[in-house]
Symmetry: C2
Subunit: 346 residues, 2 copies
């Protein structure tokens, strides 16, 4: 806790694979709240694969990378928020942020939302009980619509979103199949998350082996493919679709660090199988959060859904936490803790 | 009219581009109807791009190519059908066929349907008032769902299906934009079919020019892309999609004659634009036909929808009619007449 606000800015645009020297730590003074402002001390910062795509052009250079955070209000000049409130919002990769919530913001605001510790660990407001959780929910139930006995395949199956997709598929009575990038992740999928089958795509020597592994894991074909990665895994899944299959596209991680687009083969399977592929963004579904949150919290509390989160420590670990996550180093959701969590025992 | 039934069989599987020597004419005796059978004299045979895909494997060698036909019952041993009835169904590239409709078949049967001359030229039962028409309808209204002021782009815009898609888009209050493969087709799109804009993709030197032509024709972006061709045109359309765009995939003609799949670039636009791409087959929508047909017939009768059909003559012209259509030689729907149409003035 210092009067200095350390942040991580985008120092240069990554070319292909992102490296830690694309970022720089900057020290700035902790801002002073003006009328209507809320000063938030950050506790947990999110690191997400989707950020990589925005580093190519959307994010400004020399500015703090905008990400969701969990924090605590330390000073408020806004009637909607009081000192001590636990909140989450778009605070960025830094230790403090100043938020000016809109006048109508009593709980439902894109910039600042309340966090209720009764729902679970407060850090989960940016994972299972936040955007990754709602993303998995909308993609699985609204777009995938798995039916009992169907097969749901998800890539990045042990990740922040995928680890929930497999469990949601099982809740719907479907068979859950996952692919992931290490033996540990595959074991986690089957032993902890309850997947019916999982395989390590990195052990597949070529596309033929990948398709064979997928067919092996999905002997009745694929009814829902929840795509987190695009690329060869998407191509393999397209070849295994059943009639009327649904393909929610949540991300294309395999594409984010490529400098040219090799194209996706086998798209004609959409036609042959009368299948639907739908890109979606959780931004279009934020209004669902208040109604969804209690249901999701109950699933987690009751143990029907489990969640794994990795917590890194300190603002200076952010670049490495992000870079190594994009290389597949994470299991479940990765966050960086930058302040003492008041809900945890000392 | 002979007691010989001349048919066109698949003599060998095409490698890449189909050629007329992939087919052979065969002469067989006109079959005798047994109990429950209906003997149909064919009048019009359909030639369709989708047949090309099935020639790679699905269709049997040395058998008559199965296509939809319009015909007339010349002998019936089935209580549902009488001599003289005008019908359509899956008769194949031949002059006669024997049909054994299911017992329940009173109008709704995959194999034999009645044709009412009051709806329009009977040949249209395999075009505007048949599967191509219903295909355009379902793809446009059910999957594309154009809204007033939106932009609908369709490839193969002067073809059997596309020529209706553009007109349906206009009926919905949308802007209709088409691409086609010759100056004549483009003129037909704008002057006859009422497209707001159309362009000749063959004049585009490269992908960059194709995208430029498309952007030029769609200054407000694309809300619905009705895909008949796949390939470079699909790639260009993906780059011009608006948020929430719909991409019904009806066919991928550009892919049918390629021996390897170059892949589709830019699929990440589905994600960025929260767009939906849906392959569909009219087989899943056949139940719609009875309710749809009177509405469609009224649109044609009233002149709100126009339709262009090319009629070739004689069973021996079928191979060339098919091969040259796949090379883009057709304007609108192409059929081959193989018998005297009793509804036309002598």
């Amino acid at each position: 806790m210092s009067a200095v606000n350390t942040g991580v800015v985008l120092a240069r645009r990554p070319q292909g694979r992102v490296t830690t020297d694309c970022f720089r730590l900057v020290e700035r003074p902790v801002p002073e709240p003006g009328p209507g402002d809320v000063l938030v001390r950050h506790l947990y910062l999110s690191v997400d694969p989707y950020l990589r795509g925005r580093m190519d052009a959307a994010f400004a250079l020399e500015e703090v990378v905008p990400v969701r955070v969990v924090g605590q209000v330390t000073a408020s000049r806004n009637p909607c928020w009081a000192e001590g409130d636990l909140v989450w919002g778009f605070g960025g990769w830094q230790e403090w942020s100043l938020v000016r919530p809109s006048a109508e913001a009593v709980g439902i605001d894109e910039r600042l939302w309340p966090v209720d510790p009764a729902n679970g660990p407060i850090a989960w407001a940016i994972s299972a009980l936040g955007m990754p959780g709602l993303t998995a929910w909308v993609g699985t139930f609204d777009l995938g619509r798995p039916q009992p006995g169907e097969t749901v395949f998800v890539s990045a199956a042990a990740g922040a979103v995928g680890s929930l997709v497999g469990q949601f598929a099982r809740l719907a009575g479907a068979r859950a199949v996952g692919s992931a990038g290490s033996a540990d992740k595959v074991a986690h999928c089957v032993d902890v998350l309850g997947y019916d089958a999982a395989f390590d795509y990195r052990t597949c020597a070529d596309q033929r082996a990948l398709v064979a592994a997928l067919r092996d894991a999905c002997p009745s074909g694929i009814d829902v493919y929840f795509d987190n990665v695009g690329g060869p895994t998407l191509e393999a899944a397209l070849r295994c679709l059943n009639d009327g299959a649904r393909v929610p596209v949540c991300g294309m991680i395999s594409r984010y660090e490529e400098t040219s687009d090799p194209g996706v083969k086998g798209l004609i399977n959409l036609l042959a199988k009368r299948a639907t592929m739908t890109g979606f963004s959780i931004y279009d579904h934020l209004h669902r959060l208040p109604a969804w949150l209690p249901r999701m919290a109950e699933l987690v509390r009751s143990g029907k859904v489990v969640y794994h989160q990795e917590t890194w420590q300190g603002i200076d670990s952010v670049p490495e936490a992000f870079v190594s996550m994009l290389a597949g180093g994470n299991l479940g959701k990765r966050v960086v803790q930058v302040g003492d969590d008041p809900t945890l025992p000392g």
